[in-house]
Amino acid sequence: MSAEVVIGAWVAVGLSLCMYSFLYKDNPFFKFGEHVFVGVSVGYLLTITYYQVMTNKLYIPMTQQGKRWLLVPAFLGLLLLARFIPSIAWLSRISFAFLLGISSGLAIPRQISSFILKQVEGTLKPLVTVGDGGVAWMTWAGLNALLVLIGVVSVLFYFFFSLEHTGTVRRIARVGIYFLMVSFGAAFGYTVMARMSLLIGRFDELMLYASASYGYATPVLLVAMIVGLWWWERGQERKT
């Protein structure tokens, strides 16, 4: 095993344990991990942004491909920096207005298409099935379509804001809430399962790094961290 791999394993284990120490309480190990995480991510993203945006999307297309029109977005981007000069800070609002306008204009039609009209289309299903033997009134497909229709209609009732939720409207909206809660329950279980698999993956790696080939990184660092936390707690007690 090369030294780089072993050092990498120790760093990975150390930072993982620092973050997991949060389960105990806020402590210096967690603070260290948090600050390293934030610092590294900001530095990394800054570098990525510089090369992928400033270089690949602005400088190279302008200088090598002759795309002079890119000066317009570049100028709008520069206006954002006007915020740092109070006397011309108002100029940055031009860029913000452009950003908000363009993002709303692009997002709203897509949302309408994907989350309203497509859903309407998916709801429109026949409640019966017609086969060679004639009309089948009670089929699973029909029942499913009916269930979806009732669910969509009742949930829509819940989201009527200018309608007083009393009487029949209240009862229908209540059915809608039940449908919502069932879907949330399913989503909860599904997501928790996904998170468990992530946790297992992390533990799997920690166990791998606990072997002799990695210098017993996990147990050594775990013991060191427990001792460190105990020492820190004693210090805290002395202060109080």
Binding site: D26, F37, F159, F161, S162, E164, T191
Partner: protein, 449 residues
């Protein structure tokens, strides 16, 4: 606008029955726009007749047509040909392409002869007319192997093979062109105009009568309580705008983020009025800059510009979990009395809300990220579900324009609700009684996308 290229007699031999097919060729959008309703009426009347008029082709080779796909960016070509009577499950069609009519043809696709029909086209009827089950359709697009260049003529040939014989179509040509308008979205435009008109009328009515009823949203009623509690306890109010950005059409978080910034303005106004402290950590620089403007204006509107601090909004990191770790640390160290989680969230939702819950803060969340809603519901005191987030700004401010917009949205939802119920009844009756016009009526709803 183009339809057929290279179907002149010099390039493609005239085939028996071509004129019938040509009459039913791709109908140009411009024409459709003009005779929209006439097509609908005639379509309803003639559908059964047209249906019977379709006859399978018994000629020896596939009668191939190539045409520029309508309403695209000039990156695809459509091919179609009537089904052959000799087709079977074991037979295949092979589509070949060449840049020159006499050049070597490269196979680009091969599929079973019993697949790829016009009925598979997802486009609406006012662009494609009645889609036929007895005509094959194949859409040629750029792949990793070859790239369709805009305004370049390509030549196509389809080969039918059933193991015993191999029949080649005539060579046809077409060039992909970019279209200025995508007529398939005509219905979206219609809905936009109708919905816009409804909103304008609703706003006008709200201005005349500002006391439009809005149902109670407990999560928003609690905003006042949460800010008041933070003021009494002398602790800050933490407001997160989520992990979203103003990313445009490809970003699912745009609308929720915009809603979160608008609600921040109302919360900041209350915080300024009460004299509490507001903390707004950010992941997205642009969102942070917009929020700075919002908060500053809110403090001015509340008559407390002197208490506004530039560091109310601060940037942490663009990385999801670095941001989460830092906010968790902030929650544990500063122990805000009220936590607001508005906007779009990903996997960090539970990490943030769970940490907040351990500090005993009153927590109000609002998101349209349906996979994160369960986590907020289980860990927060109040949760704004989906559209309640969008309604929040109208509810909090009671501005006639926003309340009118909300009223207009409700009318829109009512219309959609009717469409769904009537549409389901129509399609069910169509199935039971096998009435073609009911099915065509269903298409009205089905193509609204």
């Amino acid at each position: 606008m183009s339809a057929f290229i290279g179907l002149s007699s010099g390039e493609t031999p005239a085939l028996p029955g071509t004129e019938t097919l040509m009459m039913r060729e791709l109908q140009l959008p411009r024409r459709h726009a003009g005779v929209f309703f006439a097509c609908l009426v005639w379509g309803l009347l003639l559908l059964p007749v047209v249906g019977r008029a379709q006859e399978t082709d018994a000629s020896s080779a596939p009668r191939l047509e190539a045409f520029d796909m309508p309403g695209d960016a000039g990156d695809s070509i459509g091919l179609r040909w009537p089904v052959l009577t000799t087709e079977s499950k074991t037979a295949v069609y092979r589509v070949s392409l060449s840049k020159e009519q006499t050049g070597a043809f490269t196979p680009i696709a091969e599929f079973a002869a019993t697949t790829h029909y016009e009925t598979d086209i997802s486009g609406p009827w006012w662009v494609w007319g009645a889609k036929r089950k007895d005509v094959h359709f194949f859409q040629v697009k750029s792949t990793s192997d070859f790239r369709l260049e805009r305004d370049t003529t390509y030549f196509f040939q389809v080969t039918f093979s059933d193991g015993t014989e191999s029949l080649k179509s005539a060579i046809v040509a077409a060039a992909p062109h970019a279209n200025l308008l995508n007529w398939a979205k005509l219905n979206n435009f219609g809905i936009l105009v109708a919905f816009g008109a409804t909103l304008l009328v609703s706003i006008r009515r709200a201005r005349v009568n500002p006391h439009i009823f809005l149902r109670r949203i407990p999560g928003l009623d609690a905003v006042e309580e949460a800010v008041g509690r933070a003021t009494e306890m002398g602790r800050p109010v933490l407001y997160l705008t989520g992990s979203g950005d103003f990313g445009g059409s490809s970003d699912p978080s745009s609308l929720a983020t915009i809603a979160a910034t608008v609600i921040l303005s109302d919360v900041a106004k209350r915080v300024a009025t009460y004299g509490a402290e507001l903390r707004v950590p950010h992941r997205a620089p642009i969102v942070m800059a917009v929020c700075q403007e919002m908060v500053r204006e809110a403090y001015f509107a509340a008559g407390r510009p002197d208490t506004y601090r530039e560091d109310t909004n601060f940037f942490i990191s663009g990385d999801q979990f670095a941001y989460t770790a830092a906010v968790d640390g902030l929650i544990l160290r500063e122990k805000p009395a009220a936590n607001f989680f508005m906007g779009y969230y990903y996997a960090e939702s539970l990490l943030l809300a769970e940490t907040g819950a351990t500090t005993g803060a009153i927590q109000i969340a609002g998101t349209d990220a349906e996979h994160q809603l369960p986590f907020f519901i289980t860990t927060c005191d109040y949760t704004l579900i989906g559209e309640e987030l969008y309604a929040a700004s109208a509810y909090l401010s009671r501005e006639p324009v926003l309340v009118g917009t909300l009223r207009g949205q409700d009318i829109g939802k009512g219309i959609l609700l009717c469409v769904m119920v009537i549409g389901t009844v129509a399609i069910t009756l169509g199935e039971i009684f096998s009435v073609p016009w009911v099915k065509t009526l269903f298409q009205l709803f089905n193509d609204v996308k």
